[in-house]
Symmetry: C2
Subunit: 189 residues, 2 copies
DNA sequence: GGTTTATGTTAGCACCGCTAGAAAAAATAG
DNA sequence: CTATTTTTTCTAGCGGTGCTAACATAAACC
């Protein structure tokens, strides 16, 4: 078995192209600019073809992109923290986190903002989300019930969003990261 | 002059009804559920009437609601901080901020998330936003360049959004606020 | 009362996500 | 190689969105 039919392969490739086209356009123009018509155009087919690959339509496409985003962000955070702890680790993970959110704003939006994930936290995302959470917990040396990590995560999330919305001075990023490390390193609950 | 014509009064009342209907429905069902047709229906007129009051259409309606949100949130934060400082002030302002965001999710969304405010930060919102920012600065005793306040604000923003998205345990709210106060009170830069 | 001005409605545009049913292409059987 | 079945793709269209021009109505003014 597992003979990858030429048929199957073309299908897989096209699925990838749909996801890539959606992510690229979303990051550049926002999710509202990602329309099924444009997407179909981008892959050289008509709309109904999209629904063969993603029966859930645009929502499912966003969901898949969000899931891949969770995997990638977790990997980046883990890699940034490594074996270091304390302020150095906090700064490293903050840079990784904020860079990802800035580089892929639409992916990040699909992950946390879009009303996609109602009943999706408890499914496949759970392990990924948990792994990323633990990378943050390691960085801030959270040995409690996770509250400190939650607050740290909230700060990262909030800063990324407010930076994106143009509400924070872009040049102050490094100062914010230093401040973040100062806030979350010293107190040991 | 300045004779408040019955005409003018009816117009003002209707404008208010439009805003109220939009905010109510948005908070309950989300902004996508706020359609011009429904809105027109809610006030007992047809669509074009909306555009007489708000030539910018739905976008302008959201903008006005966001602006009123800035005024209200600032008022609440100022009132919560009052003359107190330190951890007590931090906790008080955090409760006020998070309560507002939770009570009026759509208003909060219009304020910070919706791509409305591109060229609107430097306009009317500037003073309001600044005033609210200063309330937060007072709470955390920021005597520096505002970086600490930015990080604190980011934490509040992020926590409110992640709570709303169901990403944080709802019952952990008070623990997070305590942790927040601990993080942002002790270090004096 | 007649005229001007403001107000409201009807009808329609271009776009959206999505889908049923016809047409084309590919795989399978004889 | 032909005939049949299965899969894939397209055409056409549904109900919805924000928004607007052109017409009808109501109010204010002289």
């Amino acid at each position: 078995m597992t003979v990858p039919t030429a048929r199957q392969r073309r299908s897989d490739e096209r699925r990838r192209r749909i996801l890539d086209a959606a992510q690229e356009r979303a990051d550049a123009e926002g999710w509202t600019a990602v329309t099924t018509r444009h997407l179909a155009d981008a892959i050289g087919y008509t709309q109904p073809v999209l629904y063969r690959h993603f029966p859930g339509g645009k929502t499912e496409i966003m969901r898949v992109i969000a899931f891949e985003g969770f995997v990638e962000l977790t990997r980046l955070c883990r890699s940034a923290v490594g074996r270091t702890r304390g302020p150095r680790a906090i700064e490293a993970v903050a840079v990784a986190y904020l860079d990802f959110a800035a580089a892929h704003p639409a992916v990040y939006e699909a992950m946390f903002q879009q009303p996609i994930e109602t009943r999706f936290t408890s499914e496949d995302t759970e392990p990924e989300l948990r792994a990323g959470f633990e990378a943050l917990a390691d960085a801030v040396r959270d040995d409690g019930d996770g509250t400190k990590t939650e607050v740290f995560w909230g700060a990262l999330h909030g800063i990324s969003q407010l930076e994106r919305a143009g509400r924070m001075r872009p040049e102050g990023r490094s100062r914010r990261i230093t401040e973040l490390a100062a806030c979350f390193d010293q107190d040991t609950p």
